[in-house]
Point group: C2
Chain length 149, copies 2
């Protein structure tokens, strides 16, 4: 049930682009250096995202990438589908990439996979890049030394 580094890198890049609305286009090099992603590999990822209509690119000096839509309209699920393929754990319960199975329809597992898929999609298709830009709440409260001592 692993997410590939490809999706991980792609999401990081989109978060980076969404957080830098002030500037026009960001080069892949800058994103790669910030997030420790091999630049040439990142280019491939961004190219895939461009073909999917998620980012736009600008060639030439001072070129780079920018979001093709507001970050609120790009879901994590869409990004992962582009980079990693289907979200469903098996083909027989996928709508985007359905593959028949010899044991359908009387298959005890199909129900399990369908529920799993629904659970995954419920999270990934409801979360947008904008949601991911909000820093998470701190896990621990740091208790400051009191001045009473």
């Amino acid at each position: 049930m692993n997410i590939s580094t490809k999706s991980e890198y792609g999401l990081r890049a989109l978060i980076h682009l969404a957080s830098n609305t002030g500037r026009e286009a960001l080069p892949a090099r800058e994103i790669g250096e910030r997030w420790h992603v091999p630049v040439k590999y990142l280019e491939q990822i961004l190219t895939a995202l461009k073909e999917a209509g998620i980012v736009e690119s600008q060639v030439g000096a001072s070129g780079g990438y920018r979001l093709a839509r507001p970050a609120t309209l790009i879901t994590a699920g869409e990004v992962i589908r582009v980079l990693d393929g289907r979200l469903a754990p098996v083909g027989c319960v996928s709508t985007y990439d359905y593959e028949p199975c010899e044991f359908e329809p009387a298959c005890g597992l199909k129900t399990l996979w369908a529920r799993t898929r629904a659970a995954i999609i419920g999270v990934l298709d409801q979360t947008t890049i904008a949601d991911l830009c909000i820093p998470p709440k701190p896990q621990k409260l740091v208790v400051l030394k009191t001045a009473s001592k």
Copy 2:
């Protein structure tokens, strides 16, 4: 986000064992033939399940495998963890197989992965082999010809 055939085969084998409570031990050959699983591959899978305490084996002629516990006490999540590894999509949100990540704790993605993991676990750890033995409700109602003609 794929489930491997290993887990698929393992779950099928367990469903098969759970559905045949009358007999003592079932040989891997019988399960493999019924579910189109290569027998030698299935042996490896059943060995892993044995080491995990999910099935028991009996060596020798008329030997085979049986569940080590009632099917109601074996969850799909446990089986998949044994055969496929962790259920979490990335190591940084796994409790069974935690791996640190350089961007913790201020990582926008961690929250997403944690929610995804929770959603997956919510399904897989709540479903038992016994649940999977119940045939799913028919998708379509077949309307019988009435005798009125």
